[in-house]
Each structure stands twice: as C-alpha cells, then as structure tokens.
Symmetry: C2
Subunit: 380 residues, 2 copies
C-alpha cells in the first residue's frame, strides 16, 4: 500500500476570523487581542447530529496541516500516519479538525501578524498568551463550526497541555480526551531547556528586541534553540541507534566543523527550522508552556462535574516529558473519580515517539475512540 492510497488526499487550509466585542479576545493576562484569525484544516465529514468531531491540537512547531497533502507537496501533514481512512482517527467515521495555535506563525494570529493598530507586525507588542488563551480561541472555532460537544480532543506535547486545558476550561464541551507525552505543569528542568532556547534567540543581535521583520532574522540564535530542542526530543538510545559515533569528516585541520554525524544532523535541523518558523513565536509559545499549570486539584475544577473519559499515553524513553508526569495526571483524575486509562508505550524514540509510534498509538486510540463514540451515541 502506498502512502497515497492510505491518505485522505488533497486538503486545503481554511481561515476563521472572529472577535469578541469590542472586536477583541480577553486574555488571561487581562490584556486583549483582536480580531483573531485561526488557520485550520478539517478531514472527513461532520455527521448530522455533529457528534463525530475530533479536535487535534499540535505541538510547539506544528501547524494546522495534520493530514493529507497540500497541492504540489511531496510530504503529507505531520500526523498523517494517524489521520485518514481506517487510521486511528478514521476519517470515514469521524470529522477531524486541526487548528493552528494563536501565538504561532502558521496562519493564526501571532507576533508576526500585522497589528491592525499600527499596520506593522506585532513583534513584542503581541501580548503574552497562555495555553488557556490558545484553547479559548479554539473554542470560538468549534462554536463557529456548530459543534456543541467534541467527541475527543487529542494531542501530544504542548498539544497534550491544550487537551488538559480543554477539559479544565470547557468540561461540558468534551466527551473524551487523549493527552499524549505531556505534563500538567513544566518542571524546572523543562523550564530551563525552554529558557536556554529563548536566551539563544535573544542573544542573537539580529533579534533586535523582536523587531526584525523588515531586516535579517535571528537565524543563528533560533537554530541553536532548535538544536537544543532536538536533543531533548530524542533519547540517548535513539541517538545511539541513529548516529553512533559515525564520523562525517574528521579532519584535525578543519576546526569546529561537523566531525560527527549527530552534529551534521543537528545543524541541518536547526538551519531548516529557521526557514519555516518565527523566532518571536518560539519565545511566546515556550513561555506559554512554562506558565501552564494545571497540577494537583487545578486539573479538574472542583465546582464542575466531569463526565469526560481519558486515555493518557506516555513513552518509556521520553525524558523531556517523563512518564511520571503522565502518571501524576492519571493520579489526579482517579482522585476525582474520572474515568481514565493509562498506557506507557515501551518506545526507544524519546519524546519524538508521539509522532513515530504509529502502530501502538493506532491500536490504543482507535479502540478508545470506538468505545467512546459508541457510548456517546447510546447515551444520547
């Protein structure tokens, strides 16, 4: 079977622009932002009673293009392995929505968007946003699509945080939730890695306090930040398997060039990233991750009765979002009597596993969704 026959085929990005009166969205910081545009894609068909909608939420550098192909593209969306006919998120059965987060740079309003008040990119005039704000914006999109209750919200990493936030903010609007490789709050180590990435960006003189949109970009700083990220996305073991100590071109006369394959890989990934990502978005999104805190009793607000089923997934070799953080989530859910299933997948891929462990994830998610969908429709 080729990828194409499994794929949902050609897809198109869509845009939704909204504003709360007076033309703005109220943010957690107390500031406002608006009007707001959200870039999103949908796959499959919404059924008559709008009970088959699944929201896919993406990670730090992700976008709305989760599945299928854009015209002329060779590679499909970032979670194409899990979204499509007969896949985990079966587009023959479900209506799948993926929306780009606000603060990003892939079509939704972010620091690189034009500030209507100045006619120039926001840059650092963009307000600090939280995971709560990202989800608040997504809720407007879901409302606009006429969906009262999502069958499921699913996502990995920062996507997993959005999943948790959806349940905390809109428990009546979510039937089930699948947070993958995530945490209810960042540990100091996770904050530290984010902070070093931000420092690398801001150390680049081209960053210029965020004002680089009409000049050269802080490419070297952002590349360093991304390189740090990539180390944390892989495991010691997966790096060993992928690179070992293979030499690219060890040559004592060339100083500080890439000797080892792992160095070449990191530089390639770093250089590649700066072509497709905005440095200020990197700052804003990582800061939102660091501020995020639904730990302890905050995970499920006390005054809200919760009827959401959870499937929590973590990966054994993921040291950036270690399994104990997923287990903390499960513990809190169980304390509150929430229906929660937990699975630690025995992967060597590290944090990247949520993009790579397709077979295991498919088995778990497919089954979980079927049961949820069935239960949902019986209950109605």
């Amino acid at each position: 079977m080729t990828l194409k026959s499994e794929s949902i085929g050609l897809v198109k990005q869509q845009y939704f622009t909204f504003a709360e009166p007076p033309n703005e969205l109220k943010l957690d910081s107390g500031k406002t932002l608006g009007p707001i545009t959200i870039a999103y894609e949908t796959y499959g068909e919404l059924n008559a009673d709008k009970s088959n909608a699944i929201l896919v939420v993406h990670a730090l550098s992700g976008d709305a293009h989760a599945a299928g192909f854009h015209e002329g593209d060779k590679n499909p969306g970032w979670w194409d392995d899990l979204i499509g006919p007969n896949k985990a998120l079966d587009t023959g059965r479900y209506f799948v929505i993926c929306s780009n987060i606000i603060g990003g740079c892939k079509g939704s309003t972010g620091p690189s968007s034009i500030n209507p008040k100045t006619g120039k990119p926001y840059a650092l005039d963009f307000p600090i946003i939280t995971i709560g704000d990202m989800v608040r914006a997504q809720k407007h999109l879901i409302d606009y699509l006429g969906i009262r209750k999502l069958l499921c919200v699913v996502g990995g990493s920062v996507g997993g945080m959005q999943v948790l936030q959806w349940v905390a903010s809109y428990p009546k609007s979510v039937q089930s939730a699948i947070p993958i490789a995530t945490a209810a709050k960042h540990s100091p180590q996770q904050i530290a890695f984010d902070e070093v990435g931000r420092q690398a960006v801001m150390a680049d003189p081209a960053w210029n306090q965020g004002n680089y949109y009409d000049s050269s970009k802080p490419e070297r700083g952002l590349a360093v930040a991304r390189m740090i990220g990539h180390i944390t996305y892989m495991s010691d073991k997966s790096m060993e398997e992928k690179f070992s100590r293979k030499l690219k071109d060890k040559d004592y006369s060339f100083k500080f060039t890439t000797d080892f394959e792992v160095e070449g890989y990191l530089r390639y990934r770093g250089d590649n990233f700066v072509k497709r990502f905005d440095a200020n978005s990197y700052l804003y999104i990582t800061k939102a991750m660091d501020y995020f805190d639904l730990s302890g009793a905050k995970l499920i607000p006390k005054d809200k009765s919760i009827d959401v089923r959870f499937l929590v997934i973590s990966f054994k070799s993921d040291w950036l979002y270690p399994s104990y953080q997923s287990q903390d989530i499960v513990r809190q859910l169980k304390i509150r009597g929430v229906d929660a299933t937990y699975c630690e997948i025995n992967s060597t891929y590290g944090h990247d596993a949520f993009l790579l462990e397709v077979e295991e994830e498919t088995r778990l998610i497919k089954h979980f969704l079927k049961k949820t969908f069935h239960g949902y429709n019986i209950a109605r």
Copy 2:
C-alpha cells in the same frame, strides 16, 4: 570545626614550562605545540621515595586550584572538601598535585596564550588537542617533579577521561586510578550537547572566528553554552528540590525576563562564567572530549601488562554521564583481568554529584587509597 581548620590553608599556583626538542610537543594531530607552560598546585609533602604522589585532574571549567586558599580569597579550591588534612586525599599522608589542562585558560598554554611565533594570542591557530595531548603534557610535569610512579590519578567528568588516558598511555607510571562520573567515549547525546554549546559560542558575532582578544568577547554565546551545561549537570530531581516552580517576578507586562527562579539561576551562572572562562578554550576542550575514545579493547592496550587498581564511581541521577558508561569501563577492566571496584552512589545531584557527594566519596576514596598505598609499599 570551621572550614579554615580543615583546610590546608594558603596555597600558591606554580608554573612549569617545557619543550620537547625542537622546542615543541608532538600532538596526536601530527602538529606540534611549544613551548608549553603548565599551571599547577601541590599540597602536602612528597616522601623520600616519592611513592605518595596523587595527581588530581580537573573537569571542563576547572583549574589547578583544587584545594586551600589563594591569598585574599574567600572560597577555597574546587575540591577542597576532598583534599586536606584527614580528608579523602589526606595531605598529611599524600603529596597531591593538580595541574591545569593545556587548551584551557587558567595558566596553562591554551588558545588565549601568546603564540611565540606571532606575539599575539593563538586564537584558532592553536592546534586541535586531545585528551591524550593533555595527559602527555601532564607526564612532563610529573617527570619534572621526579615522580616515577603516581600512587593514584583521580578525577571526575573530563578529569575521569584523563584518568583513563593516563592508564592507557603510561600504565607503568600509575599505581591506581579513580575515574569518577565519566565515560570511555562520548555518546551521540553527549556530543550533541557539546556541539550545541559550541554553536552557541560561534553564533555570537563577537566570536569573530576566534579573534576577539583585543575586542569585546562572545559573552552572550558563551553564557548560553554554559546554561546548557548547567542543565545537564543537575538532575530533574535536584532542580525540582532547588527551584520547584518558584517565581522570581511573574509579570505579564515584562516579556521574556526571568519569571522562574531556575531561569534566574541559569542566567546568573551563565553571566558569571564568561568572566572567568575563555570561549575558545570552551571550543577546544569540548572537542577534545568528543574525540576521546578509549572504548572497548582500546581502554587497556593489548601489548601492555597492567598492574593498576581501579575504583570506578558513578552517580545514580547523573544522566549526562549515566552509570551504564561507568559499567562499560568496569566490564572492559574485568575482561582484561584488571583489579577493579565499582560503586554507584545513590545521589540525586546529577553530574554535579562528583563535587557534592563528599561523605560518600571520602569513605570510598580514603579506604581505597590506604589499601593501595599499603600494598604498594609492601610490594616494593
């Protein structure tokens, strides 16, 4: 007991300059370097038959000042807790030497030293050096001090690599060896962290291809590199214990300043480091670490009969130099029939533990040295 009464008191740095004919040291790269100066300190007295000398070898940012106080200093040397009267390296019993590595910037010849051929700092004209070259230079110092056989070579991290290299290069000159929290070779993950640090330095325009000695230094780049380092020196748990998610000054209106204590700590450590360390030395030393490879049979050369006792120490929470790397060293030693004791200390401090787990290390090292010294003198 105050620190002072336990300390060996005032100490002075010394310098030894040497050159192999014609005035240079032949390096692993085939290039030459010379004359070479080594900064070193000694503590305690060399006994009549010169059988009580211990060489302490330091880590990446260390120096020759391992114990005691320099005139006017408030803080003692970096391993003062382990070196002094009645301490692990008992200066009432042993003659302790600590030498600064070549390639560094603490008194020994390195890229910031004056190149005699040009009258200017070497900068990138400094040749690539290896751990083998560092040890080769140390051997000249030991010869100069008239010591034919060291009672012990001991060190952690890159120091541990030098310990292994001493045995591999000069097995007849070493009675015992204590490699701590180290590896026989860097894994791709360790290379990756070093490489990102180097990239951070070289991304700083002030680095200027290494030529910054008469202008402003690449301080921001080096600070970022050091911040990455500090994350890897601590454990997830020790960061949690030290910082948790305590806020310094969370304020949505101040963007990308230090909100969390862990951020403030990293910035402080980064900023502090650039005052006392040379960016080019950082490049040269980390590259030497990455090139280092005494894995497998290379650890003990086949044609050499080895009569060296080993004490190998690792720390449970050290994820930068994980215990499995120390266990690989022990395995190789056992295969070759070398007398080796291994201990994994149950610490939460991460890689920093080799500087902090004073009590456990003292117990292990004191006993090991006593037995070695006793056996050594009986055998003679």
